[in-house]
């Protein structure tokens, strides 16, 4: 069962290794889970998930596995009443019940009667819980759910707050907004963009390494030994092309966040704006005044191929804007957008296109596919995951 859980986690793309799995086993052996599902959940989470991006996915897989555990007992029909392991409940209750409560149970007709009532209750509960909920009667079918349940005034478990919390913890999916595939805030994006920073010590030695020199001289018993280190500088140069206006208005805010994050990350950063698709001109300013226009050929000549080219745009337009000379909506273009796109990607081997449109919707807009083709597949969604992939691609 645990192996299955482990495999499912891997299948869900959470990078769990055997080592972590063994750690979990060791922790279980040490009795850390205390045979409570909630503690087991916390323990498994602490041992197996190492990045808050995966917490949400972990919750989902945990939920699925947990459900699987339940339906195993229930057979084919999830609605069928479940045989509760009597000993399990008994043992648990004995652990927590006071003598007084035990005598109360006797008054109710003993264990068998109590279990009978409990089963009845659980069936009712199940009836109510069926339908939309993924948790077909969490409290109903699961032996663990019974834990939080409160039959006949006999409280199995501890105090009330447990009942409210049981099982639900991972179902709440509190870490949803930390998952890698949601849209970004300024903070997330900074993390991903740091990938681009390459503090490479490269090139010729150019700086006197004070600490190194002193160390080497001392080791040399006082004979001066000069050490040089290459100068540390940020080698990443980025040409950022932002799509502003029209269909991008929905995404402007997101783009601005990306933009503000980028600004603090690079020493060499130039940004230009375009509308829908790059043609022969781009603009230095989002107001698109003729004074700010720069011919794309000038850009290509000015910035050498070591610059990294990042487009940010939704690539959603009419196919004519891409395919047809004169198809642009704002200006007359002699050559088609596709030609210009090709020219730019030829000039800059390191280029990516970041698309704020969620990846699943890309197929529904023809032009997105066309642009993706023109970018040779280097289009990535504007999410933390997508950004990571894009940055990896740029660094290759």
């Amino acid at each position: 069962m645990f192996i299955d859980f482990f495999l499912r986690l891997r299948a869900a793309g959470i990078p769990v290794s055997l080592r972590e799995f063994l750690t979990l086993q060791a922790a279980m052996q040490a009795g850390l889970a205390e045979y409570e599902i909630e503690n087991f959940y916390y323990l498994a989470r602490a041992a197996l998930v190492k990045d808050e991006r995966f917490l949400d996915r972990f919750d989902q897989v945990f939920g699925e596995c947990f459900k699987g555990l339940v339906s195993e007992g229930a057979g084919e029909d999830p609605a069928a009443p479940v045989e509760l392991p009597d000993e399990w409940l008994k043992k648990l209750a004995e652990k927590y019940l006071t003598e007084e409560e035990k005598s109360q149970i006797q008054a109710l007709g003993g264990w068998d009667k109590l279990m009978e009532t409990l089963r009845q209750r659980l069936e009712e509960q199940q009836g109510r819980h069926q339908g939309g909920s993924k948790w077909i009667g969490t409290a109903g079918t699961s032996p663990f759910g019974a834990y939080g349940y409160n039959p006949e005034g006999v409280r199995i478990g501890q105090h009330e707050s447990r009942h409210r919390k049981a099982v639900k913890v991972w179902d709440k999916r509190e870490f949803k907004n930390l998952a890698g595939d949601v849209e970004l805030g300024t903070r997330n994006i900074k993390v991903a963009l740091r990938r681009l920073r390459r503090f490479a010590r490269e090139g010729a030695a150019s700086e006197l390494d004070m600490a190194g020199t002193i160390g080497a001289t001392a080791r040399n018993a006082g004979y001066l030994d000069l050490k040089m280190v290459p100068e540390r500088h940020n080698a990443v140069k980025v040409l950022l092309c932002l799509d502003i206006g029209g269909s991008m208005d929905d995404h402007v805010r997101l783009c601005e966040e990306l933009f503000s994050a980028v600004r603090s990350e690079f020493k060499h950063l130039e940004q230009v704006y375009f509308h829908n698709c790059p043609y022969d001109k781009m603009w230095r300013d989002a107001s698109f005044r003729p004074v700010h226009a720069v011919p794309v050929m000038d850009l290509i000549h000015k910035y050498d191929p070591s610059w990294k080219l990042i487009f940010v745009g939704d690539a959603s337009m009419s196919p004519y804007e891409l395919k047809q000379p004169g198809g642009a909506i704002s200006d007359w273009n002699q050559e088609s957008g596709e030609v210009w796109l090709k020219r730019l990607t030829d000039a800059y081997p390191k280029a990516v296109w970041l698309n704020p449109v969620p990846e699943p919707y890309w197929r529904s807009t023809m032009s997105i596919g066309l642009v993706e083709q023109a970018m040779e597949g280097r289009m990535f969604p504007l999410t933390l995951d997508g950004l990571d992939r894009a940055m990896h691609r740029l660094m290759r």
Binding site: T23, A30, L32, A46, V169, T186, V191, T217
Partner: protein
């Protein structure tokens, strides 16, 4: 010996499980979370709760992994050699112990806090892999192996500024401190200011979560800011009614400087409050 929170620290169930797992198995515990949710404090509290010594190693961008183990002070050896000092013969005199060594040397396993590990160079965690895993390292200068007497409890905090290497992560337990919900927050406030008036807390928390809910704030106020703010409110003896008072003339909560740390945020908040005022009631 279990960690169950302390008099001055409210630990959620999941945090307790994570801490106890790390303590029992002798693995490092990596803590992440929004700034101001009590990551660093946790180490202090764990040390107090378990009655251990706390050794704090605050990492900076220039910190090297080697500094945590030991440093060879070649400069003073050079000076001593020129002064003809006799102790120059023994290189051991010039080995300065680092925090990790200090922790390994302790007779009772201490709590070692490696604070803000993400501030350091990307290679930093990798350089400490073996040392933290085996709890031993080798001193080249004196050719000795330093072995930990007991496995220390290592707590590592990260602000997520850099990704940590997988090999490092695999050796840790991980806990993400969620922003506390209202109930937990009330417990936290009660722990810090035992005598505080309940209605003040209630009103203050309402205002606090409202501020946090404002979209587009550059820096959301966190637990530590709330605590500061409450302290100010108490010091100024502000009545709960003032906070409840939705008087349009007063746009933003009193002493907002403790909550909003950025003039753009204050402006944004004022603007929103102004818009609210214009809405017909």
């Amino acid at each position: 010996m279990k960690f169950t929170g302390t008099q001055s620290y409210v630990a959620t169930d999941d945090l307790k499980v994570a801490v106890n797992a790390a303590v029992t198995l002798g693995r490092p515990l990596l803590i992440k979370g929004e700034p101001g949710t009590g990551k660093t404090i946790l180490a202090e509290e764990v040390a107090t709760a378990l009655g251990r010594k706390l050794i704090a190693w605050h990492v900076k961008s220039t910190t090297k992994a080697q500094q945590g183990l030991y440093e060879y002070d070649a400069v003073s050896r050079l000076r001593d050699s020129q002064l003809g000092d006799a102790k120059v013969q023994d290189i051991g005199n010039y080995i300065v112990k680092g925090k990790l060594w200090e922790a390994f040397d302790a007779d009772v396993a201490p709590v070692l806090l490696i604070d803000e590990i993400d501030k350091a160079d990307i290679e930093f965690p990798n350089d400490l892999l073996l040392e933290i895993d085996r709890m031993e390292f080798y001193v080249y200068e004196t050719r000795q192996t330093i072995k930990a007497k007991h496995r220390s409890i290592i707590i590592i905090t990260s602000n997520n500024e850099k990704e940590l290497p997988d090999a490092f992560l695999r050796r840790c337990f991980f806990h993400y401190i969620r922003f506390p919900d209202r109930e937990t927050m009330e417990a936290i406030v009660a722990v810090h200011y035992p005598g505080i008036k309940q209605d003040l807390v209630r009103e203050a928390l309402t205002v606090f979560y409202e501020v946090r809910d404002v979209q587009g704030l550059k820096k959301k106020p966190s637990t530590s800011e709330l605590l500061d703010w409450l302290k100010l409110l108490m010091a100024e003896d502000i009545a709960p009614e003032v906070l409840r008072d939705k008087d349009p003339a007063k746009l933003i909560p009193p002493l907002h400087g403790a909550l909003l740390k950025n003039e753009q945020d204050v402006h944004l908040f004022e603007r929103l409050a102004f818009l609210n005022r214009r809405q017909p009631r």
